[in-house]
Symmetry: C2
Subunit: 443 residues, 2 copies
């Protein structure tokens, strides 16, 4: 039934080039209403039964669309976003970032991978089924315009539109082929808590000749931070690991089978030191604590012999899906208080819950089976990625499994100049998605 989908997708890709031409850069609030409006038109053309803008109409509304399927009892929700990262540095692009260009089997444009190319794959999919017997199941689109600036309004929009967004399963954006070109499916994301640690020891910086009696904010910060983590990366905060939940046996096996080569990672980044022997398990199911930045005193050229009166650090903790971002920040403050560093103040900046759909969920199993049919048994499954994203509010509010799969590959240069996808991946990924919908309609 989806025999020609791959070819259809490649043929009709160009129908949606206008999406790639709009410079919808959320960080610069550029072309966002226009892109949302274009999406509304495209969804209407494709025969959506309902199209709506959700959230702020003036700035970057999310666009919702609903399509009826042959089996009206089943619904799949697609999460996408239409905003992109700024294209700078422009001089590093080999073609105009906002003029989609095909070279050597690759489609180049800002957003070609993240996330307009994939959005086009799903639009083409709907068009295919419109012309070939109809969608097997209901399909809903949620396309936001603020993903690249941290999805500040998604939680509220989802909470306010729970019934509209109701579905049986969600297919998330992102993903595709991994660095050894095996197709990869992901069942979740780690959470994160982001906070500052600050201390003030005086009203003003003092001359360092007074260091015999005047305490120093930088020393307080350094000594307090040093109590938080040991040299192996283990976090020394009481209760930090309490809410980490073990993986199932099947998930653990999937993690060990996951393609990750530490030596490759080391040589790519020129890494001088690594932390964990069991780095695959750690990436999926261990929380971390990272100093993102340190600031104190004089940082200019040459020498200035001052005692800094203020010092601060920016930190984040990547959390396993079962951990609570605010609770972790609170545990860290309690640790500092207990260890004589009550002058070091933890300032909570933001947090995002992690999320992990059980690998045993029937929809996840269906997706995995179809992917293995299409890409072969070397297809990989990761229970959750090392990074984060706003998926948890969907799984929590809508009570559905979420699976991440896409049409990109490890070389897509997401967020960088010359972002692209390979046309073969675009065709294959669209074909797989069609196969999944058809299979879901059968059960």
């Amino acid at each position: 039934m989806t025999e020609n989908l791959r070819e259809f997708a490649l043929k009709h890709l160009t129908d949606y080039y206008d999406l790639l031409r709009l410079p919808s850069i959320s960080a610069q609030k550029e072309a966002l209403p226009e892109t949302a409006e274009l999406l509304v038109e495209l969804f209407n053309e494709l025969g959506a039964t309902r199209v709506e803008k959700l959230g702020s109409f003036e700035s970057a509304p999310a666009v919702f669309a609903e399509f009826k399927g042959n089996d009206p009892t089943k619904t799949v929700l697609f999460y996408q976003h239409y905003d992109v990262q700024p294209p700078e540095p422009l001089e590093k692009w080999e073609s105009d970032p906002f003029e989609p260009t095909i070279r050597e089997g690759k489609l180049y444009a800002r957003g070609a991978s993240d996330n307009k190319g994939e959005l086009i794959s799903r639009l083409v999919l709907v068009k295919y089924f419109k012309e070939n017997g109809g969608l097997p199941v209901n399909v809903k689109f949620f396309v936001e315009g603020e993903e690249e600036i941290g999805s500040p309004h998604v939680a509220q929009i989802v909470q306010e539109n729970r019934e509209k967004l109701a579905a049986d399963a969600c297919i998330w954006e992102g993903g595709g082929k991994n660095y050894v070109d095996n197709y990869q499916i992901v069942g979740g994301m780690r959470g994160i808590t982001v906070f500052d640690v600050e201390t003030t020891t005086a009203d003003i910086d003092l001359h360092s000749s007074l260091a015999s009696y005047a305490e120093n904010a930088a020393w307080r910060l350094v000594r307090g931070l040093a109590t938080l983590r040991d040299d192996t990366g283990k976090v020394l905060v009481e209760g930090f690991y309490d809410d980490v939940q073990p993986l199932s046996k099947a998930e653990e096996e999937a993690v060990f089978a996951y393609d990750f080569d530490l030596d490759v990672a080391i040589s790519r980044a020129g890494l001088r030191r690594t932390l964990k022997a069991e780095h695959k398990l750690a990436l999926v199911n261990e929380p971390t604590m990272t100093i993102n930045g340190l600031t104190a005193g004089y940082q200019g050229k040459g020498v200035k012999t001052v005692i800094p009166h203020m010092a601060s650090a920016k930190l984040d903790c990547r959390l396993t899906p079962s951990q609570d971002p605010k609770k972790i920040a609170q545990l860290i403050q309690e640790h500092l208080d207990k260890n004589g560093f009550e002058d070091l103040k933890v300032r909570y900046r933001l947090g995002e819950n992690g999320h992990r759909s059980p690998m045993s969920d029937p929809f996840i199993q269906l997706v995995l089976a179809k992917a293995k049919d299409y890409y072969g048994k070397q297809t990989k499954y990761l229970p959750n990625s090392a990074g984060g994203g706003p998926a948890e509010v969907f799984s929590n509010e809508l009570d559905l499994p979420i699976v991440i799969l896409g049409v990109s590959y490890a070389g897509s240069q997401v967020h960088s100049p010359n972002e692209h996808i390979r046309l073969q991946d675009f065709g294959d990924g669209t074909q797989l998605l069609g196969d999944i919908l058809v299979e879901f309609g059968k059960n």
Copy 2:
């Protein structure tokens, strides 16, 4: 013999206003050759037997002058500088910083205290003796033009002009009345070693989702630095205190009699924490280690979840006069190496030896006795100040005692807007210096 010196000094202060009018800002290389040239003229007018520029003629030469005294077997060397700090912020000045102005018994100008006012005091002194029976002893002036930028050429100039500068004693610049208006004499300075500690853990910053295996330069720096000093301020580096030499009993008594009130220091700087009970002794004869600045990763607004690949700290150690700056930096590197932080590199920036003339030296005793005669027995003596300066090369190369005394007071706002001296201090300080020369000539 010096009966009218105080009045003479106050009357003739205005003769030297041109010195204060020249904006000889060494940090901006402004008006330095002109000021050196004016000094040459002034010294010649005063009847110097020898006047020479030492060091670089183009930029900021030091000016040397020699005056013969009635007792040709004794020589006192005056160390001064003619360069000043930039006057900014200009809007905070109540009168033009380069137009000397008297208001309510105070002389306002950039350099009025540091160091042109004091230089004028010593020029007026020579003029007085020229008109009143001649100088009791030989007097030499060494007036440099780079003190405010760290005296980069003084050591070389002194080494190359050892015989020219030869003297029996040196009277250094700076000082006067302390914060409770007692006159204060200082016999030395602490040394200093200034260095960076740097580490690099990768070629690039990495996304913090990789913190499960990728080590972080900021964590390395924080944990390494934390091993260097404890929470009481004690330095934990092996051998750090080995070369500290005890004060004599008389020096220790002088330190305890020194005017220093920790509560005043605390309230002035809004200090939240202090380190030492014996803070007077610590300020004089304990080395310190200070973090001057910390730099790593992202320090901008908001959040950036990166693993910094580089981190660095700027530090200084204030050293007691008997410690060697380079050796201390080396001990710190050895400590880091021994404690598993061989990736943290100590980069030596600069160092200055401290210096302390023995309080028992006859010239120091003579100065102290004359000061007590003039200012009363509440006059204080400090074996060395908490800060530093380029005195050690003079004591070391010329083998002479050095004593610091001047015509300023604690409220002189050195390096700040509205820098000034009180006319009474100018008169008194000049009178004392005359008494000292006369007494020195007698012995």
